[in-house]
Symmetry: C2
Subunit: 580 residues, 2 copies
């Protein structure tokens, strides 16, 4: 059973939850594009997922060979023009909305996380270059990166500098000709070396001599594998990590400057590298959220197919062994998988839509909304990706623990998502300490107000098909509202660390309520479609799924509120319990 | 960093939460025995955990070779007399309480899940033989199994018969000399073939000719690898599974009767095999719960050590990079790991204590209590094992995803625990449909009443160190009480499947509240010890951990109650949402 892009569900969410503007792209065009992406994903990229896991990428004499079929599939991806889908036409892109690009990103990752990491990194590089690169660098690199002919990497982490980049030691020295000599070692560099493209454009954080200590002394450099004159730069892959998952994605240790210094070009201003890196991190974080949605969808499809096929026990009223999809406990697992996946998809699409809107008349307010939603999109989607892929293993029973089935690989692959691009704990701290205070709290309040409008819509409809969804959603929103006030108040107190102690349950609460509101919006749209005479059974399924979310998953909101408001006291006793 | 048995915490829990009777074994003796077990675990068994994962077990010409060191370590385990710790002295055991045996089981599994599965299976075989074996079979096999010289297996599963054994196809035919000829194929047979013992005693479920269809036509047979005359029986290992985890534990496909039929002896009566198997399953389920406790403890120790060592970012007031154990979000993860592990340990020990008490004056009431608690001990402990080992990866950040660190292995190994010995969904159904109705609900009511006494104790103490723990525990108990009434009422209605739909959240609610009550009991005992002048800082840590559990984990109870009571309606719409 291979991954199939859920195109009609995606288009419905784009249109009715995220509000894809008809003037940007018509719905039929969106559907056609995503169907075409789905075809490439199903026929070319997804079939490489299991073999990629088994073969992995291999390093020999400094060269990384990717798993069989990867280079050919990447060529097909580039030739199809998929890499530049949402990029600026001035740089060779197709100029489609970020929102459509987000849906396509979900598809590639649903098919194969390892494969799709390569263009995901390139997208970050493009963004940094567009925002901060000199005209010269743009002219030299942008078109090749937008087409995907060349790929990009992010070189941040060093052994002593992971989440905290202030301890960075990689050095940069001006060479006197406008270039810099880069020397140092980096780790965890995704696709730092591979055989899928002729050149790899490394974006490297390094420290200039006499730069201020800490993160204010870090600069960003473009360091290509192949120099403009065609010669090899002074850099190499010195090792590959042996990882839990995403085996086909080479995670490289990189050595820069073994022979005197790799040649690099400054991106942006000296000592402003972290700001440049943050530019690319925001979209990278949304993209990692979309990876979570993709792998959760893949796990759900696989478990659902198995549950329809596997027969064990008798469902009530059955005379013979029933497909396990008919057992209530299996249904609960599958509905949980479907509901979380749909919620995470909605949140990621909302975030992408806000990025698009930030370039239109709404401007800064939409940009702030995107900033608010980004850590939720990243962390909630990847947390549920871990949960959903684990449920996928559980639905398979003993078969789920056997690697041949493929369910276990999805769980292993998904496990990195909550860690890289800023751990989910860091996302939670970002949400509480930087995003809630945006505009004095007005941004988060506006978002909560939008959720309230959905709850009122559900209530006003008084449709018995919604069950208690309206009341549950209202209750959940009040939990979120009170927890938000608490976090903002404590942040401004003399014990801000108490707010950080509650940051993770707060983010979960936000994602849960936002997800329930999104499914409520979808259910209202489905109801309207039924009222208008549409007969697609998917509409009734959307209403039932929103109800399941409200009845079976959203009730966790009240406990999360208590944990946020009452739980922070542990910081005063943690040292006692955690002494060794 | 290797596993260290948390002996003083274990003994405190044995004494003050599970109530190890002083007349059965003195506390100092218990501590001495567990310390000795801890030494063997740390010095011999734990060091094989990583190498076992890498090497795995290998099959060649029907022979399985275990990973380097396993056979020698098993010999040391047998020579130390550990296999028969809690077995009857009449069969060569040491006759110590099940409760002490449970603590030892936790230790072996904390050191190495793969290794410890071998004696765990043998324990099940001993139990079945003791309860149902003929005198002749007992005389021939029991002493060797109790000492561990020979090992045992459980042969239940076939490709088409997993959770549902009614479809079993393995055949048994009387040979006319009191033995039977067994023919068929089994899968997922743990330690079905290995090189750690001279003989392997297979307990095999099979169907006699003309037996009734379904589970009432299944009989249990003892089928040894080596026959009493020293010749090889007609059975072989036909394959090993390639698994997500527990690589060092050989999971065998077994072929019986390639050359006309393996020789077997009936255990118990014809067609009563399932009842015999259930005897061994109950204790096996508790032991799997203890596996969860062990691996959760190991993951917690590893994460805690890493968090003390790894420096990233500055904690409030620090001038330099701080150990990450000082960051609130990391503290939240580590405290969650510690609290869940302590709760699961307490529940498993309570269950073992009830098994001991069932043989004493309390009799059947204690036996019923053990029956009630067994599915909770199995499922809650293994669910939290998945969560705790995953948090262990998260605490390690990027290093957690790299296999060399060891955190990922614990997560992979733990993943089987919620699946085998009856999936956790089956445990939840067992709790709701068979255990709640015990004695018309009196067993579960008595258990809830015991939790209430702890809440009252906390309330009466009015110790500010407990925070809101008393109030939270009372609220949690009321959630459990209402959810219990709901499940019992719905079970007796014409829609019992609604109760099954809520079985999993109900089990989680039960485990959560029972765990909170146990930690409350421990906190009260710690408070008494402090009042009596003891100065061990572990006492204050126990109080703080109970408070953390009540403030930060127990609040989930209210949402779980809603899910149990309100969530079951999905069974009427699931087919719509889960159509393919």
């Amino acid at each position: 059973m291979s991954y199939r892009a859920p195109v009609s569900e995606m288009v419905f969410t784009l249109a009715h939850v995220a509000g894809l503007p008809e003037e940007a792209i018509g719905r039929a065009d969106a559907e056609a594009i995503l169907s075409e992406a789905g075809r490439l994903a199903a026929e070319v990229i997804a079939p490489l997922n299991r073999t990629g896991d088994r073969h992995g990428a291999t390093l020999s004499e400094g060269r990384v060979t990717t798993a069989p079929g990867f280079a050919e599939a990447y060529r097909a991806f580039v030739e199809g023009g998929w890499n530049g889908l949402a990029a600026d036409p001035d740089h060779g892109g197709q100029g489609l909305p970020q929102l459509l690009g987000a849906a396509a990103t979900e598809i590639w990752n649903g098919a194969n996380l390892s494969f799709s990491l390569c263009p995901l990194l390139t997208a970050g590089g493009i963004e940094a270059l567009v925002a901060h690169g000199s005209d010269d660098l743009k002219a030299r690199y942008l078109e090749k990166l937008v087409s995907g002919t060349w790929t990009a990497t992010m070189n941040l982490t060093e052994p002593q500098a992971g989440s905290d980049l202030s301890g960075l030691r990689t050095r940069a020295e001006p060479a006197g000709d406008g270039t810099y000599r880069i020397t140092g070692a980096k780790i965890y560099i995704t696709y730092g070396e591979h055989d899928m493209a002729d050149n790899i454009v490394h974006l490297v954080l390094a420290r200039l001599k006499d730069a201020p200590a800490g993160t204010r002394g870090i600069s960003l450099f473009l360091v290509p594998k192949v120099l403009p004159d065609g010669s090899a730069n002074d850099l190499r892959c010195s090792g590959l990590e042996h990882k839990l998952g995403i085996h086909a994605s080479p995670t490289c240790s990189m050595a820069f400057g073994d022979r005197g210094g790799a040649t690099g070009w400054l991106i942006g201003e000296e000592n402003r590298g972290l700001a440049c890196m943050f530019t690319m991190m925001n979209s990278a974080r949304l993209n990692v959220g979309l990876q979570g949605v993709g792998v959760a969808e893949a796990a759900t499809q696989r478990a659902l197919a198995y549950a329809h096929e596997r027969r064990q026990g008798r469902a009530p009223g059955s005379a013979e062994a029933s497909p396990i999809v008919q057992h209530a406990d299996v249904q609960r697992m599958l509905l949980t998988m479907k509901a979380y996946t749909a919620a995470a998809r909605s949140i990621c699409y909302l975030t992408a839509a806000a990025l698009d809107a930030a370039r239109g008349p709404e401007g800064q307010a939409a940009g702030d909304r995107a900033s608010l939603l980004t850590p939720v999109a990243k962390a909630f989607s990847t947390d549920i990706a871990n949960e959903v892929t684990s449920l996928g293993v559980q639905v398979h029973g003993g078969m789920g623990f056997v690697e041949e089935t493929g369910a276990a690989q999805l769980m292993r692959d998904a496990r990195i998502l909550a860690i890289y691009e800023g751990t989910n704990g860091i996302q939670a701290i970002d949400l509480t300490s930087r995003k809630l205070p945006l505009n004095g709290g007005a941004t988060v309040r506006a978002q909560i107000a939008a959720m309230r409008r959905t709850a009122e819509g559900l209530l006003k409809s008084a449709d018995p098909a919604f069950g208690h969804a309206a009341a549950r959603l209202r209750a959940g929103i009040e939990c979120l509202d009170r927890a938000t006030s608490h976090q903002l108040a404590v942040l401004g107190s003399n014990r801000p660390e108490i707010a950080l102690a509650g940051a993770t349950p707060y983010l979960r609460l936000f994602g849960l309520v936002q997800g329930a509101a999104c499914l409520g919006t979808a259910a209202l749209a489905a109801r309207a479609a039924l009222a208008a005479g549409e007969t697609d059974p998917a509409h009734r399924a959307r209403i039932a799924l929103a109800r399941f979310f409200a009845h079976n998953l959203l009730p966790a909101a009240s406990g999360l509120e208590v944990e946020v408001i009452d739980g922070g006291a542990f910081v005063d006793e943690a040292a006692l319990v955690l002494a060794q």
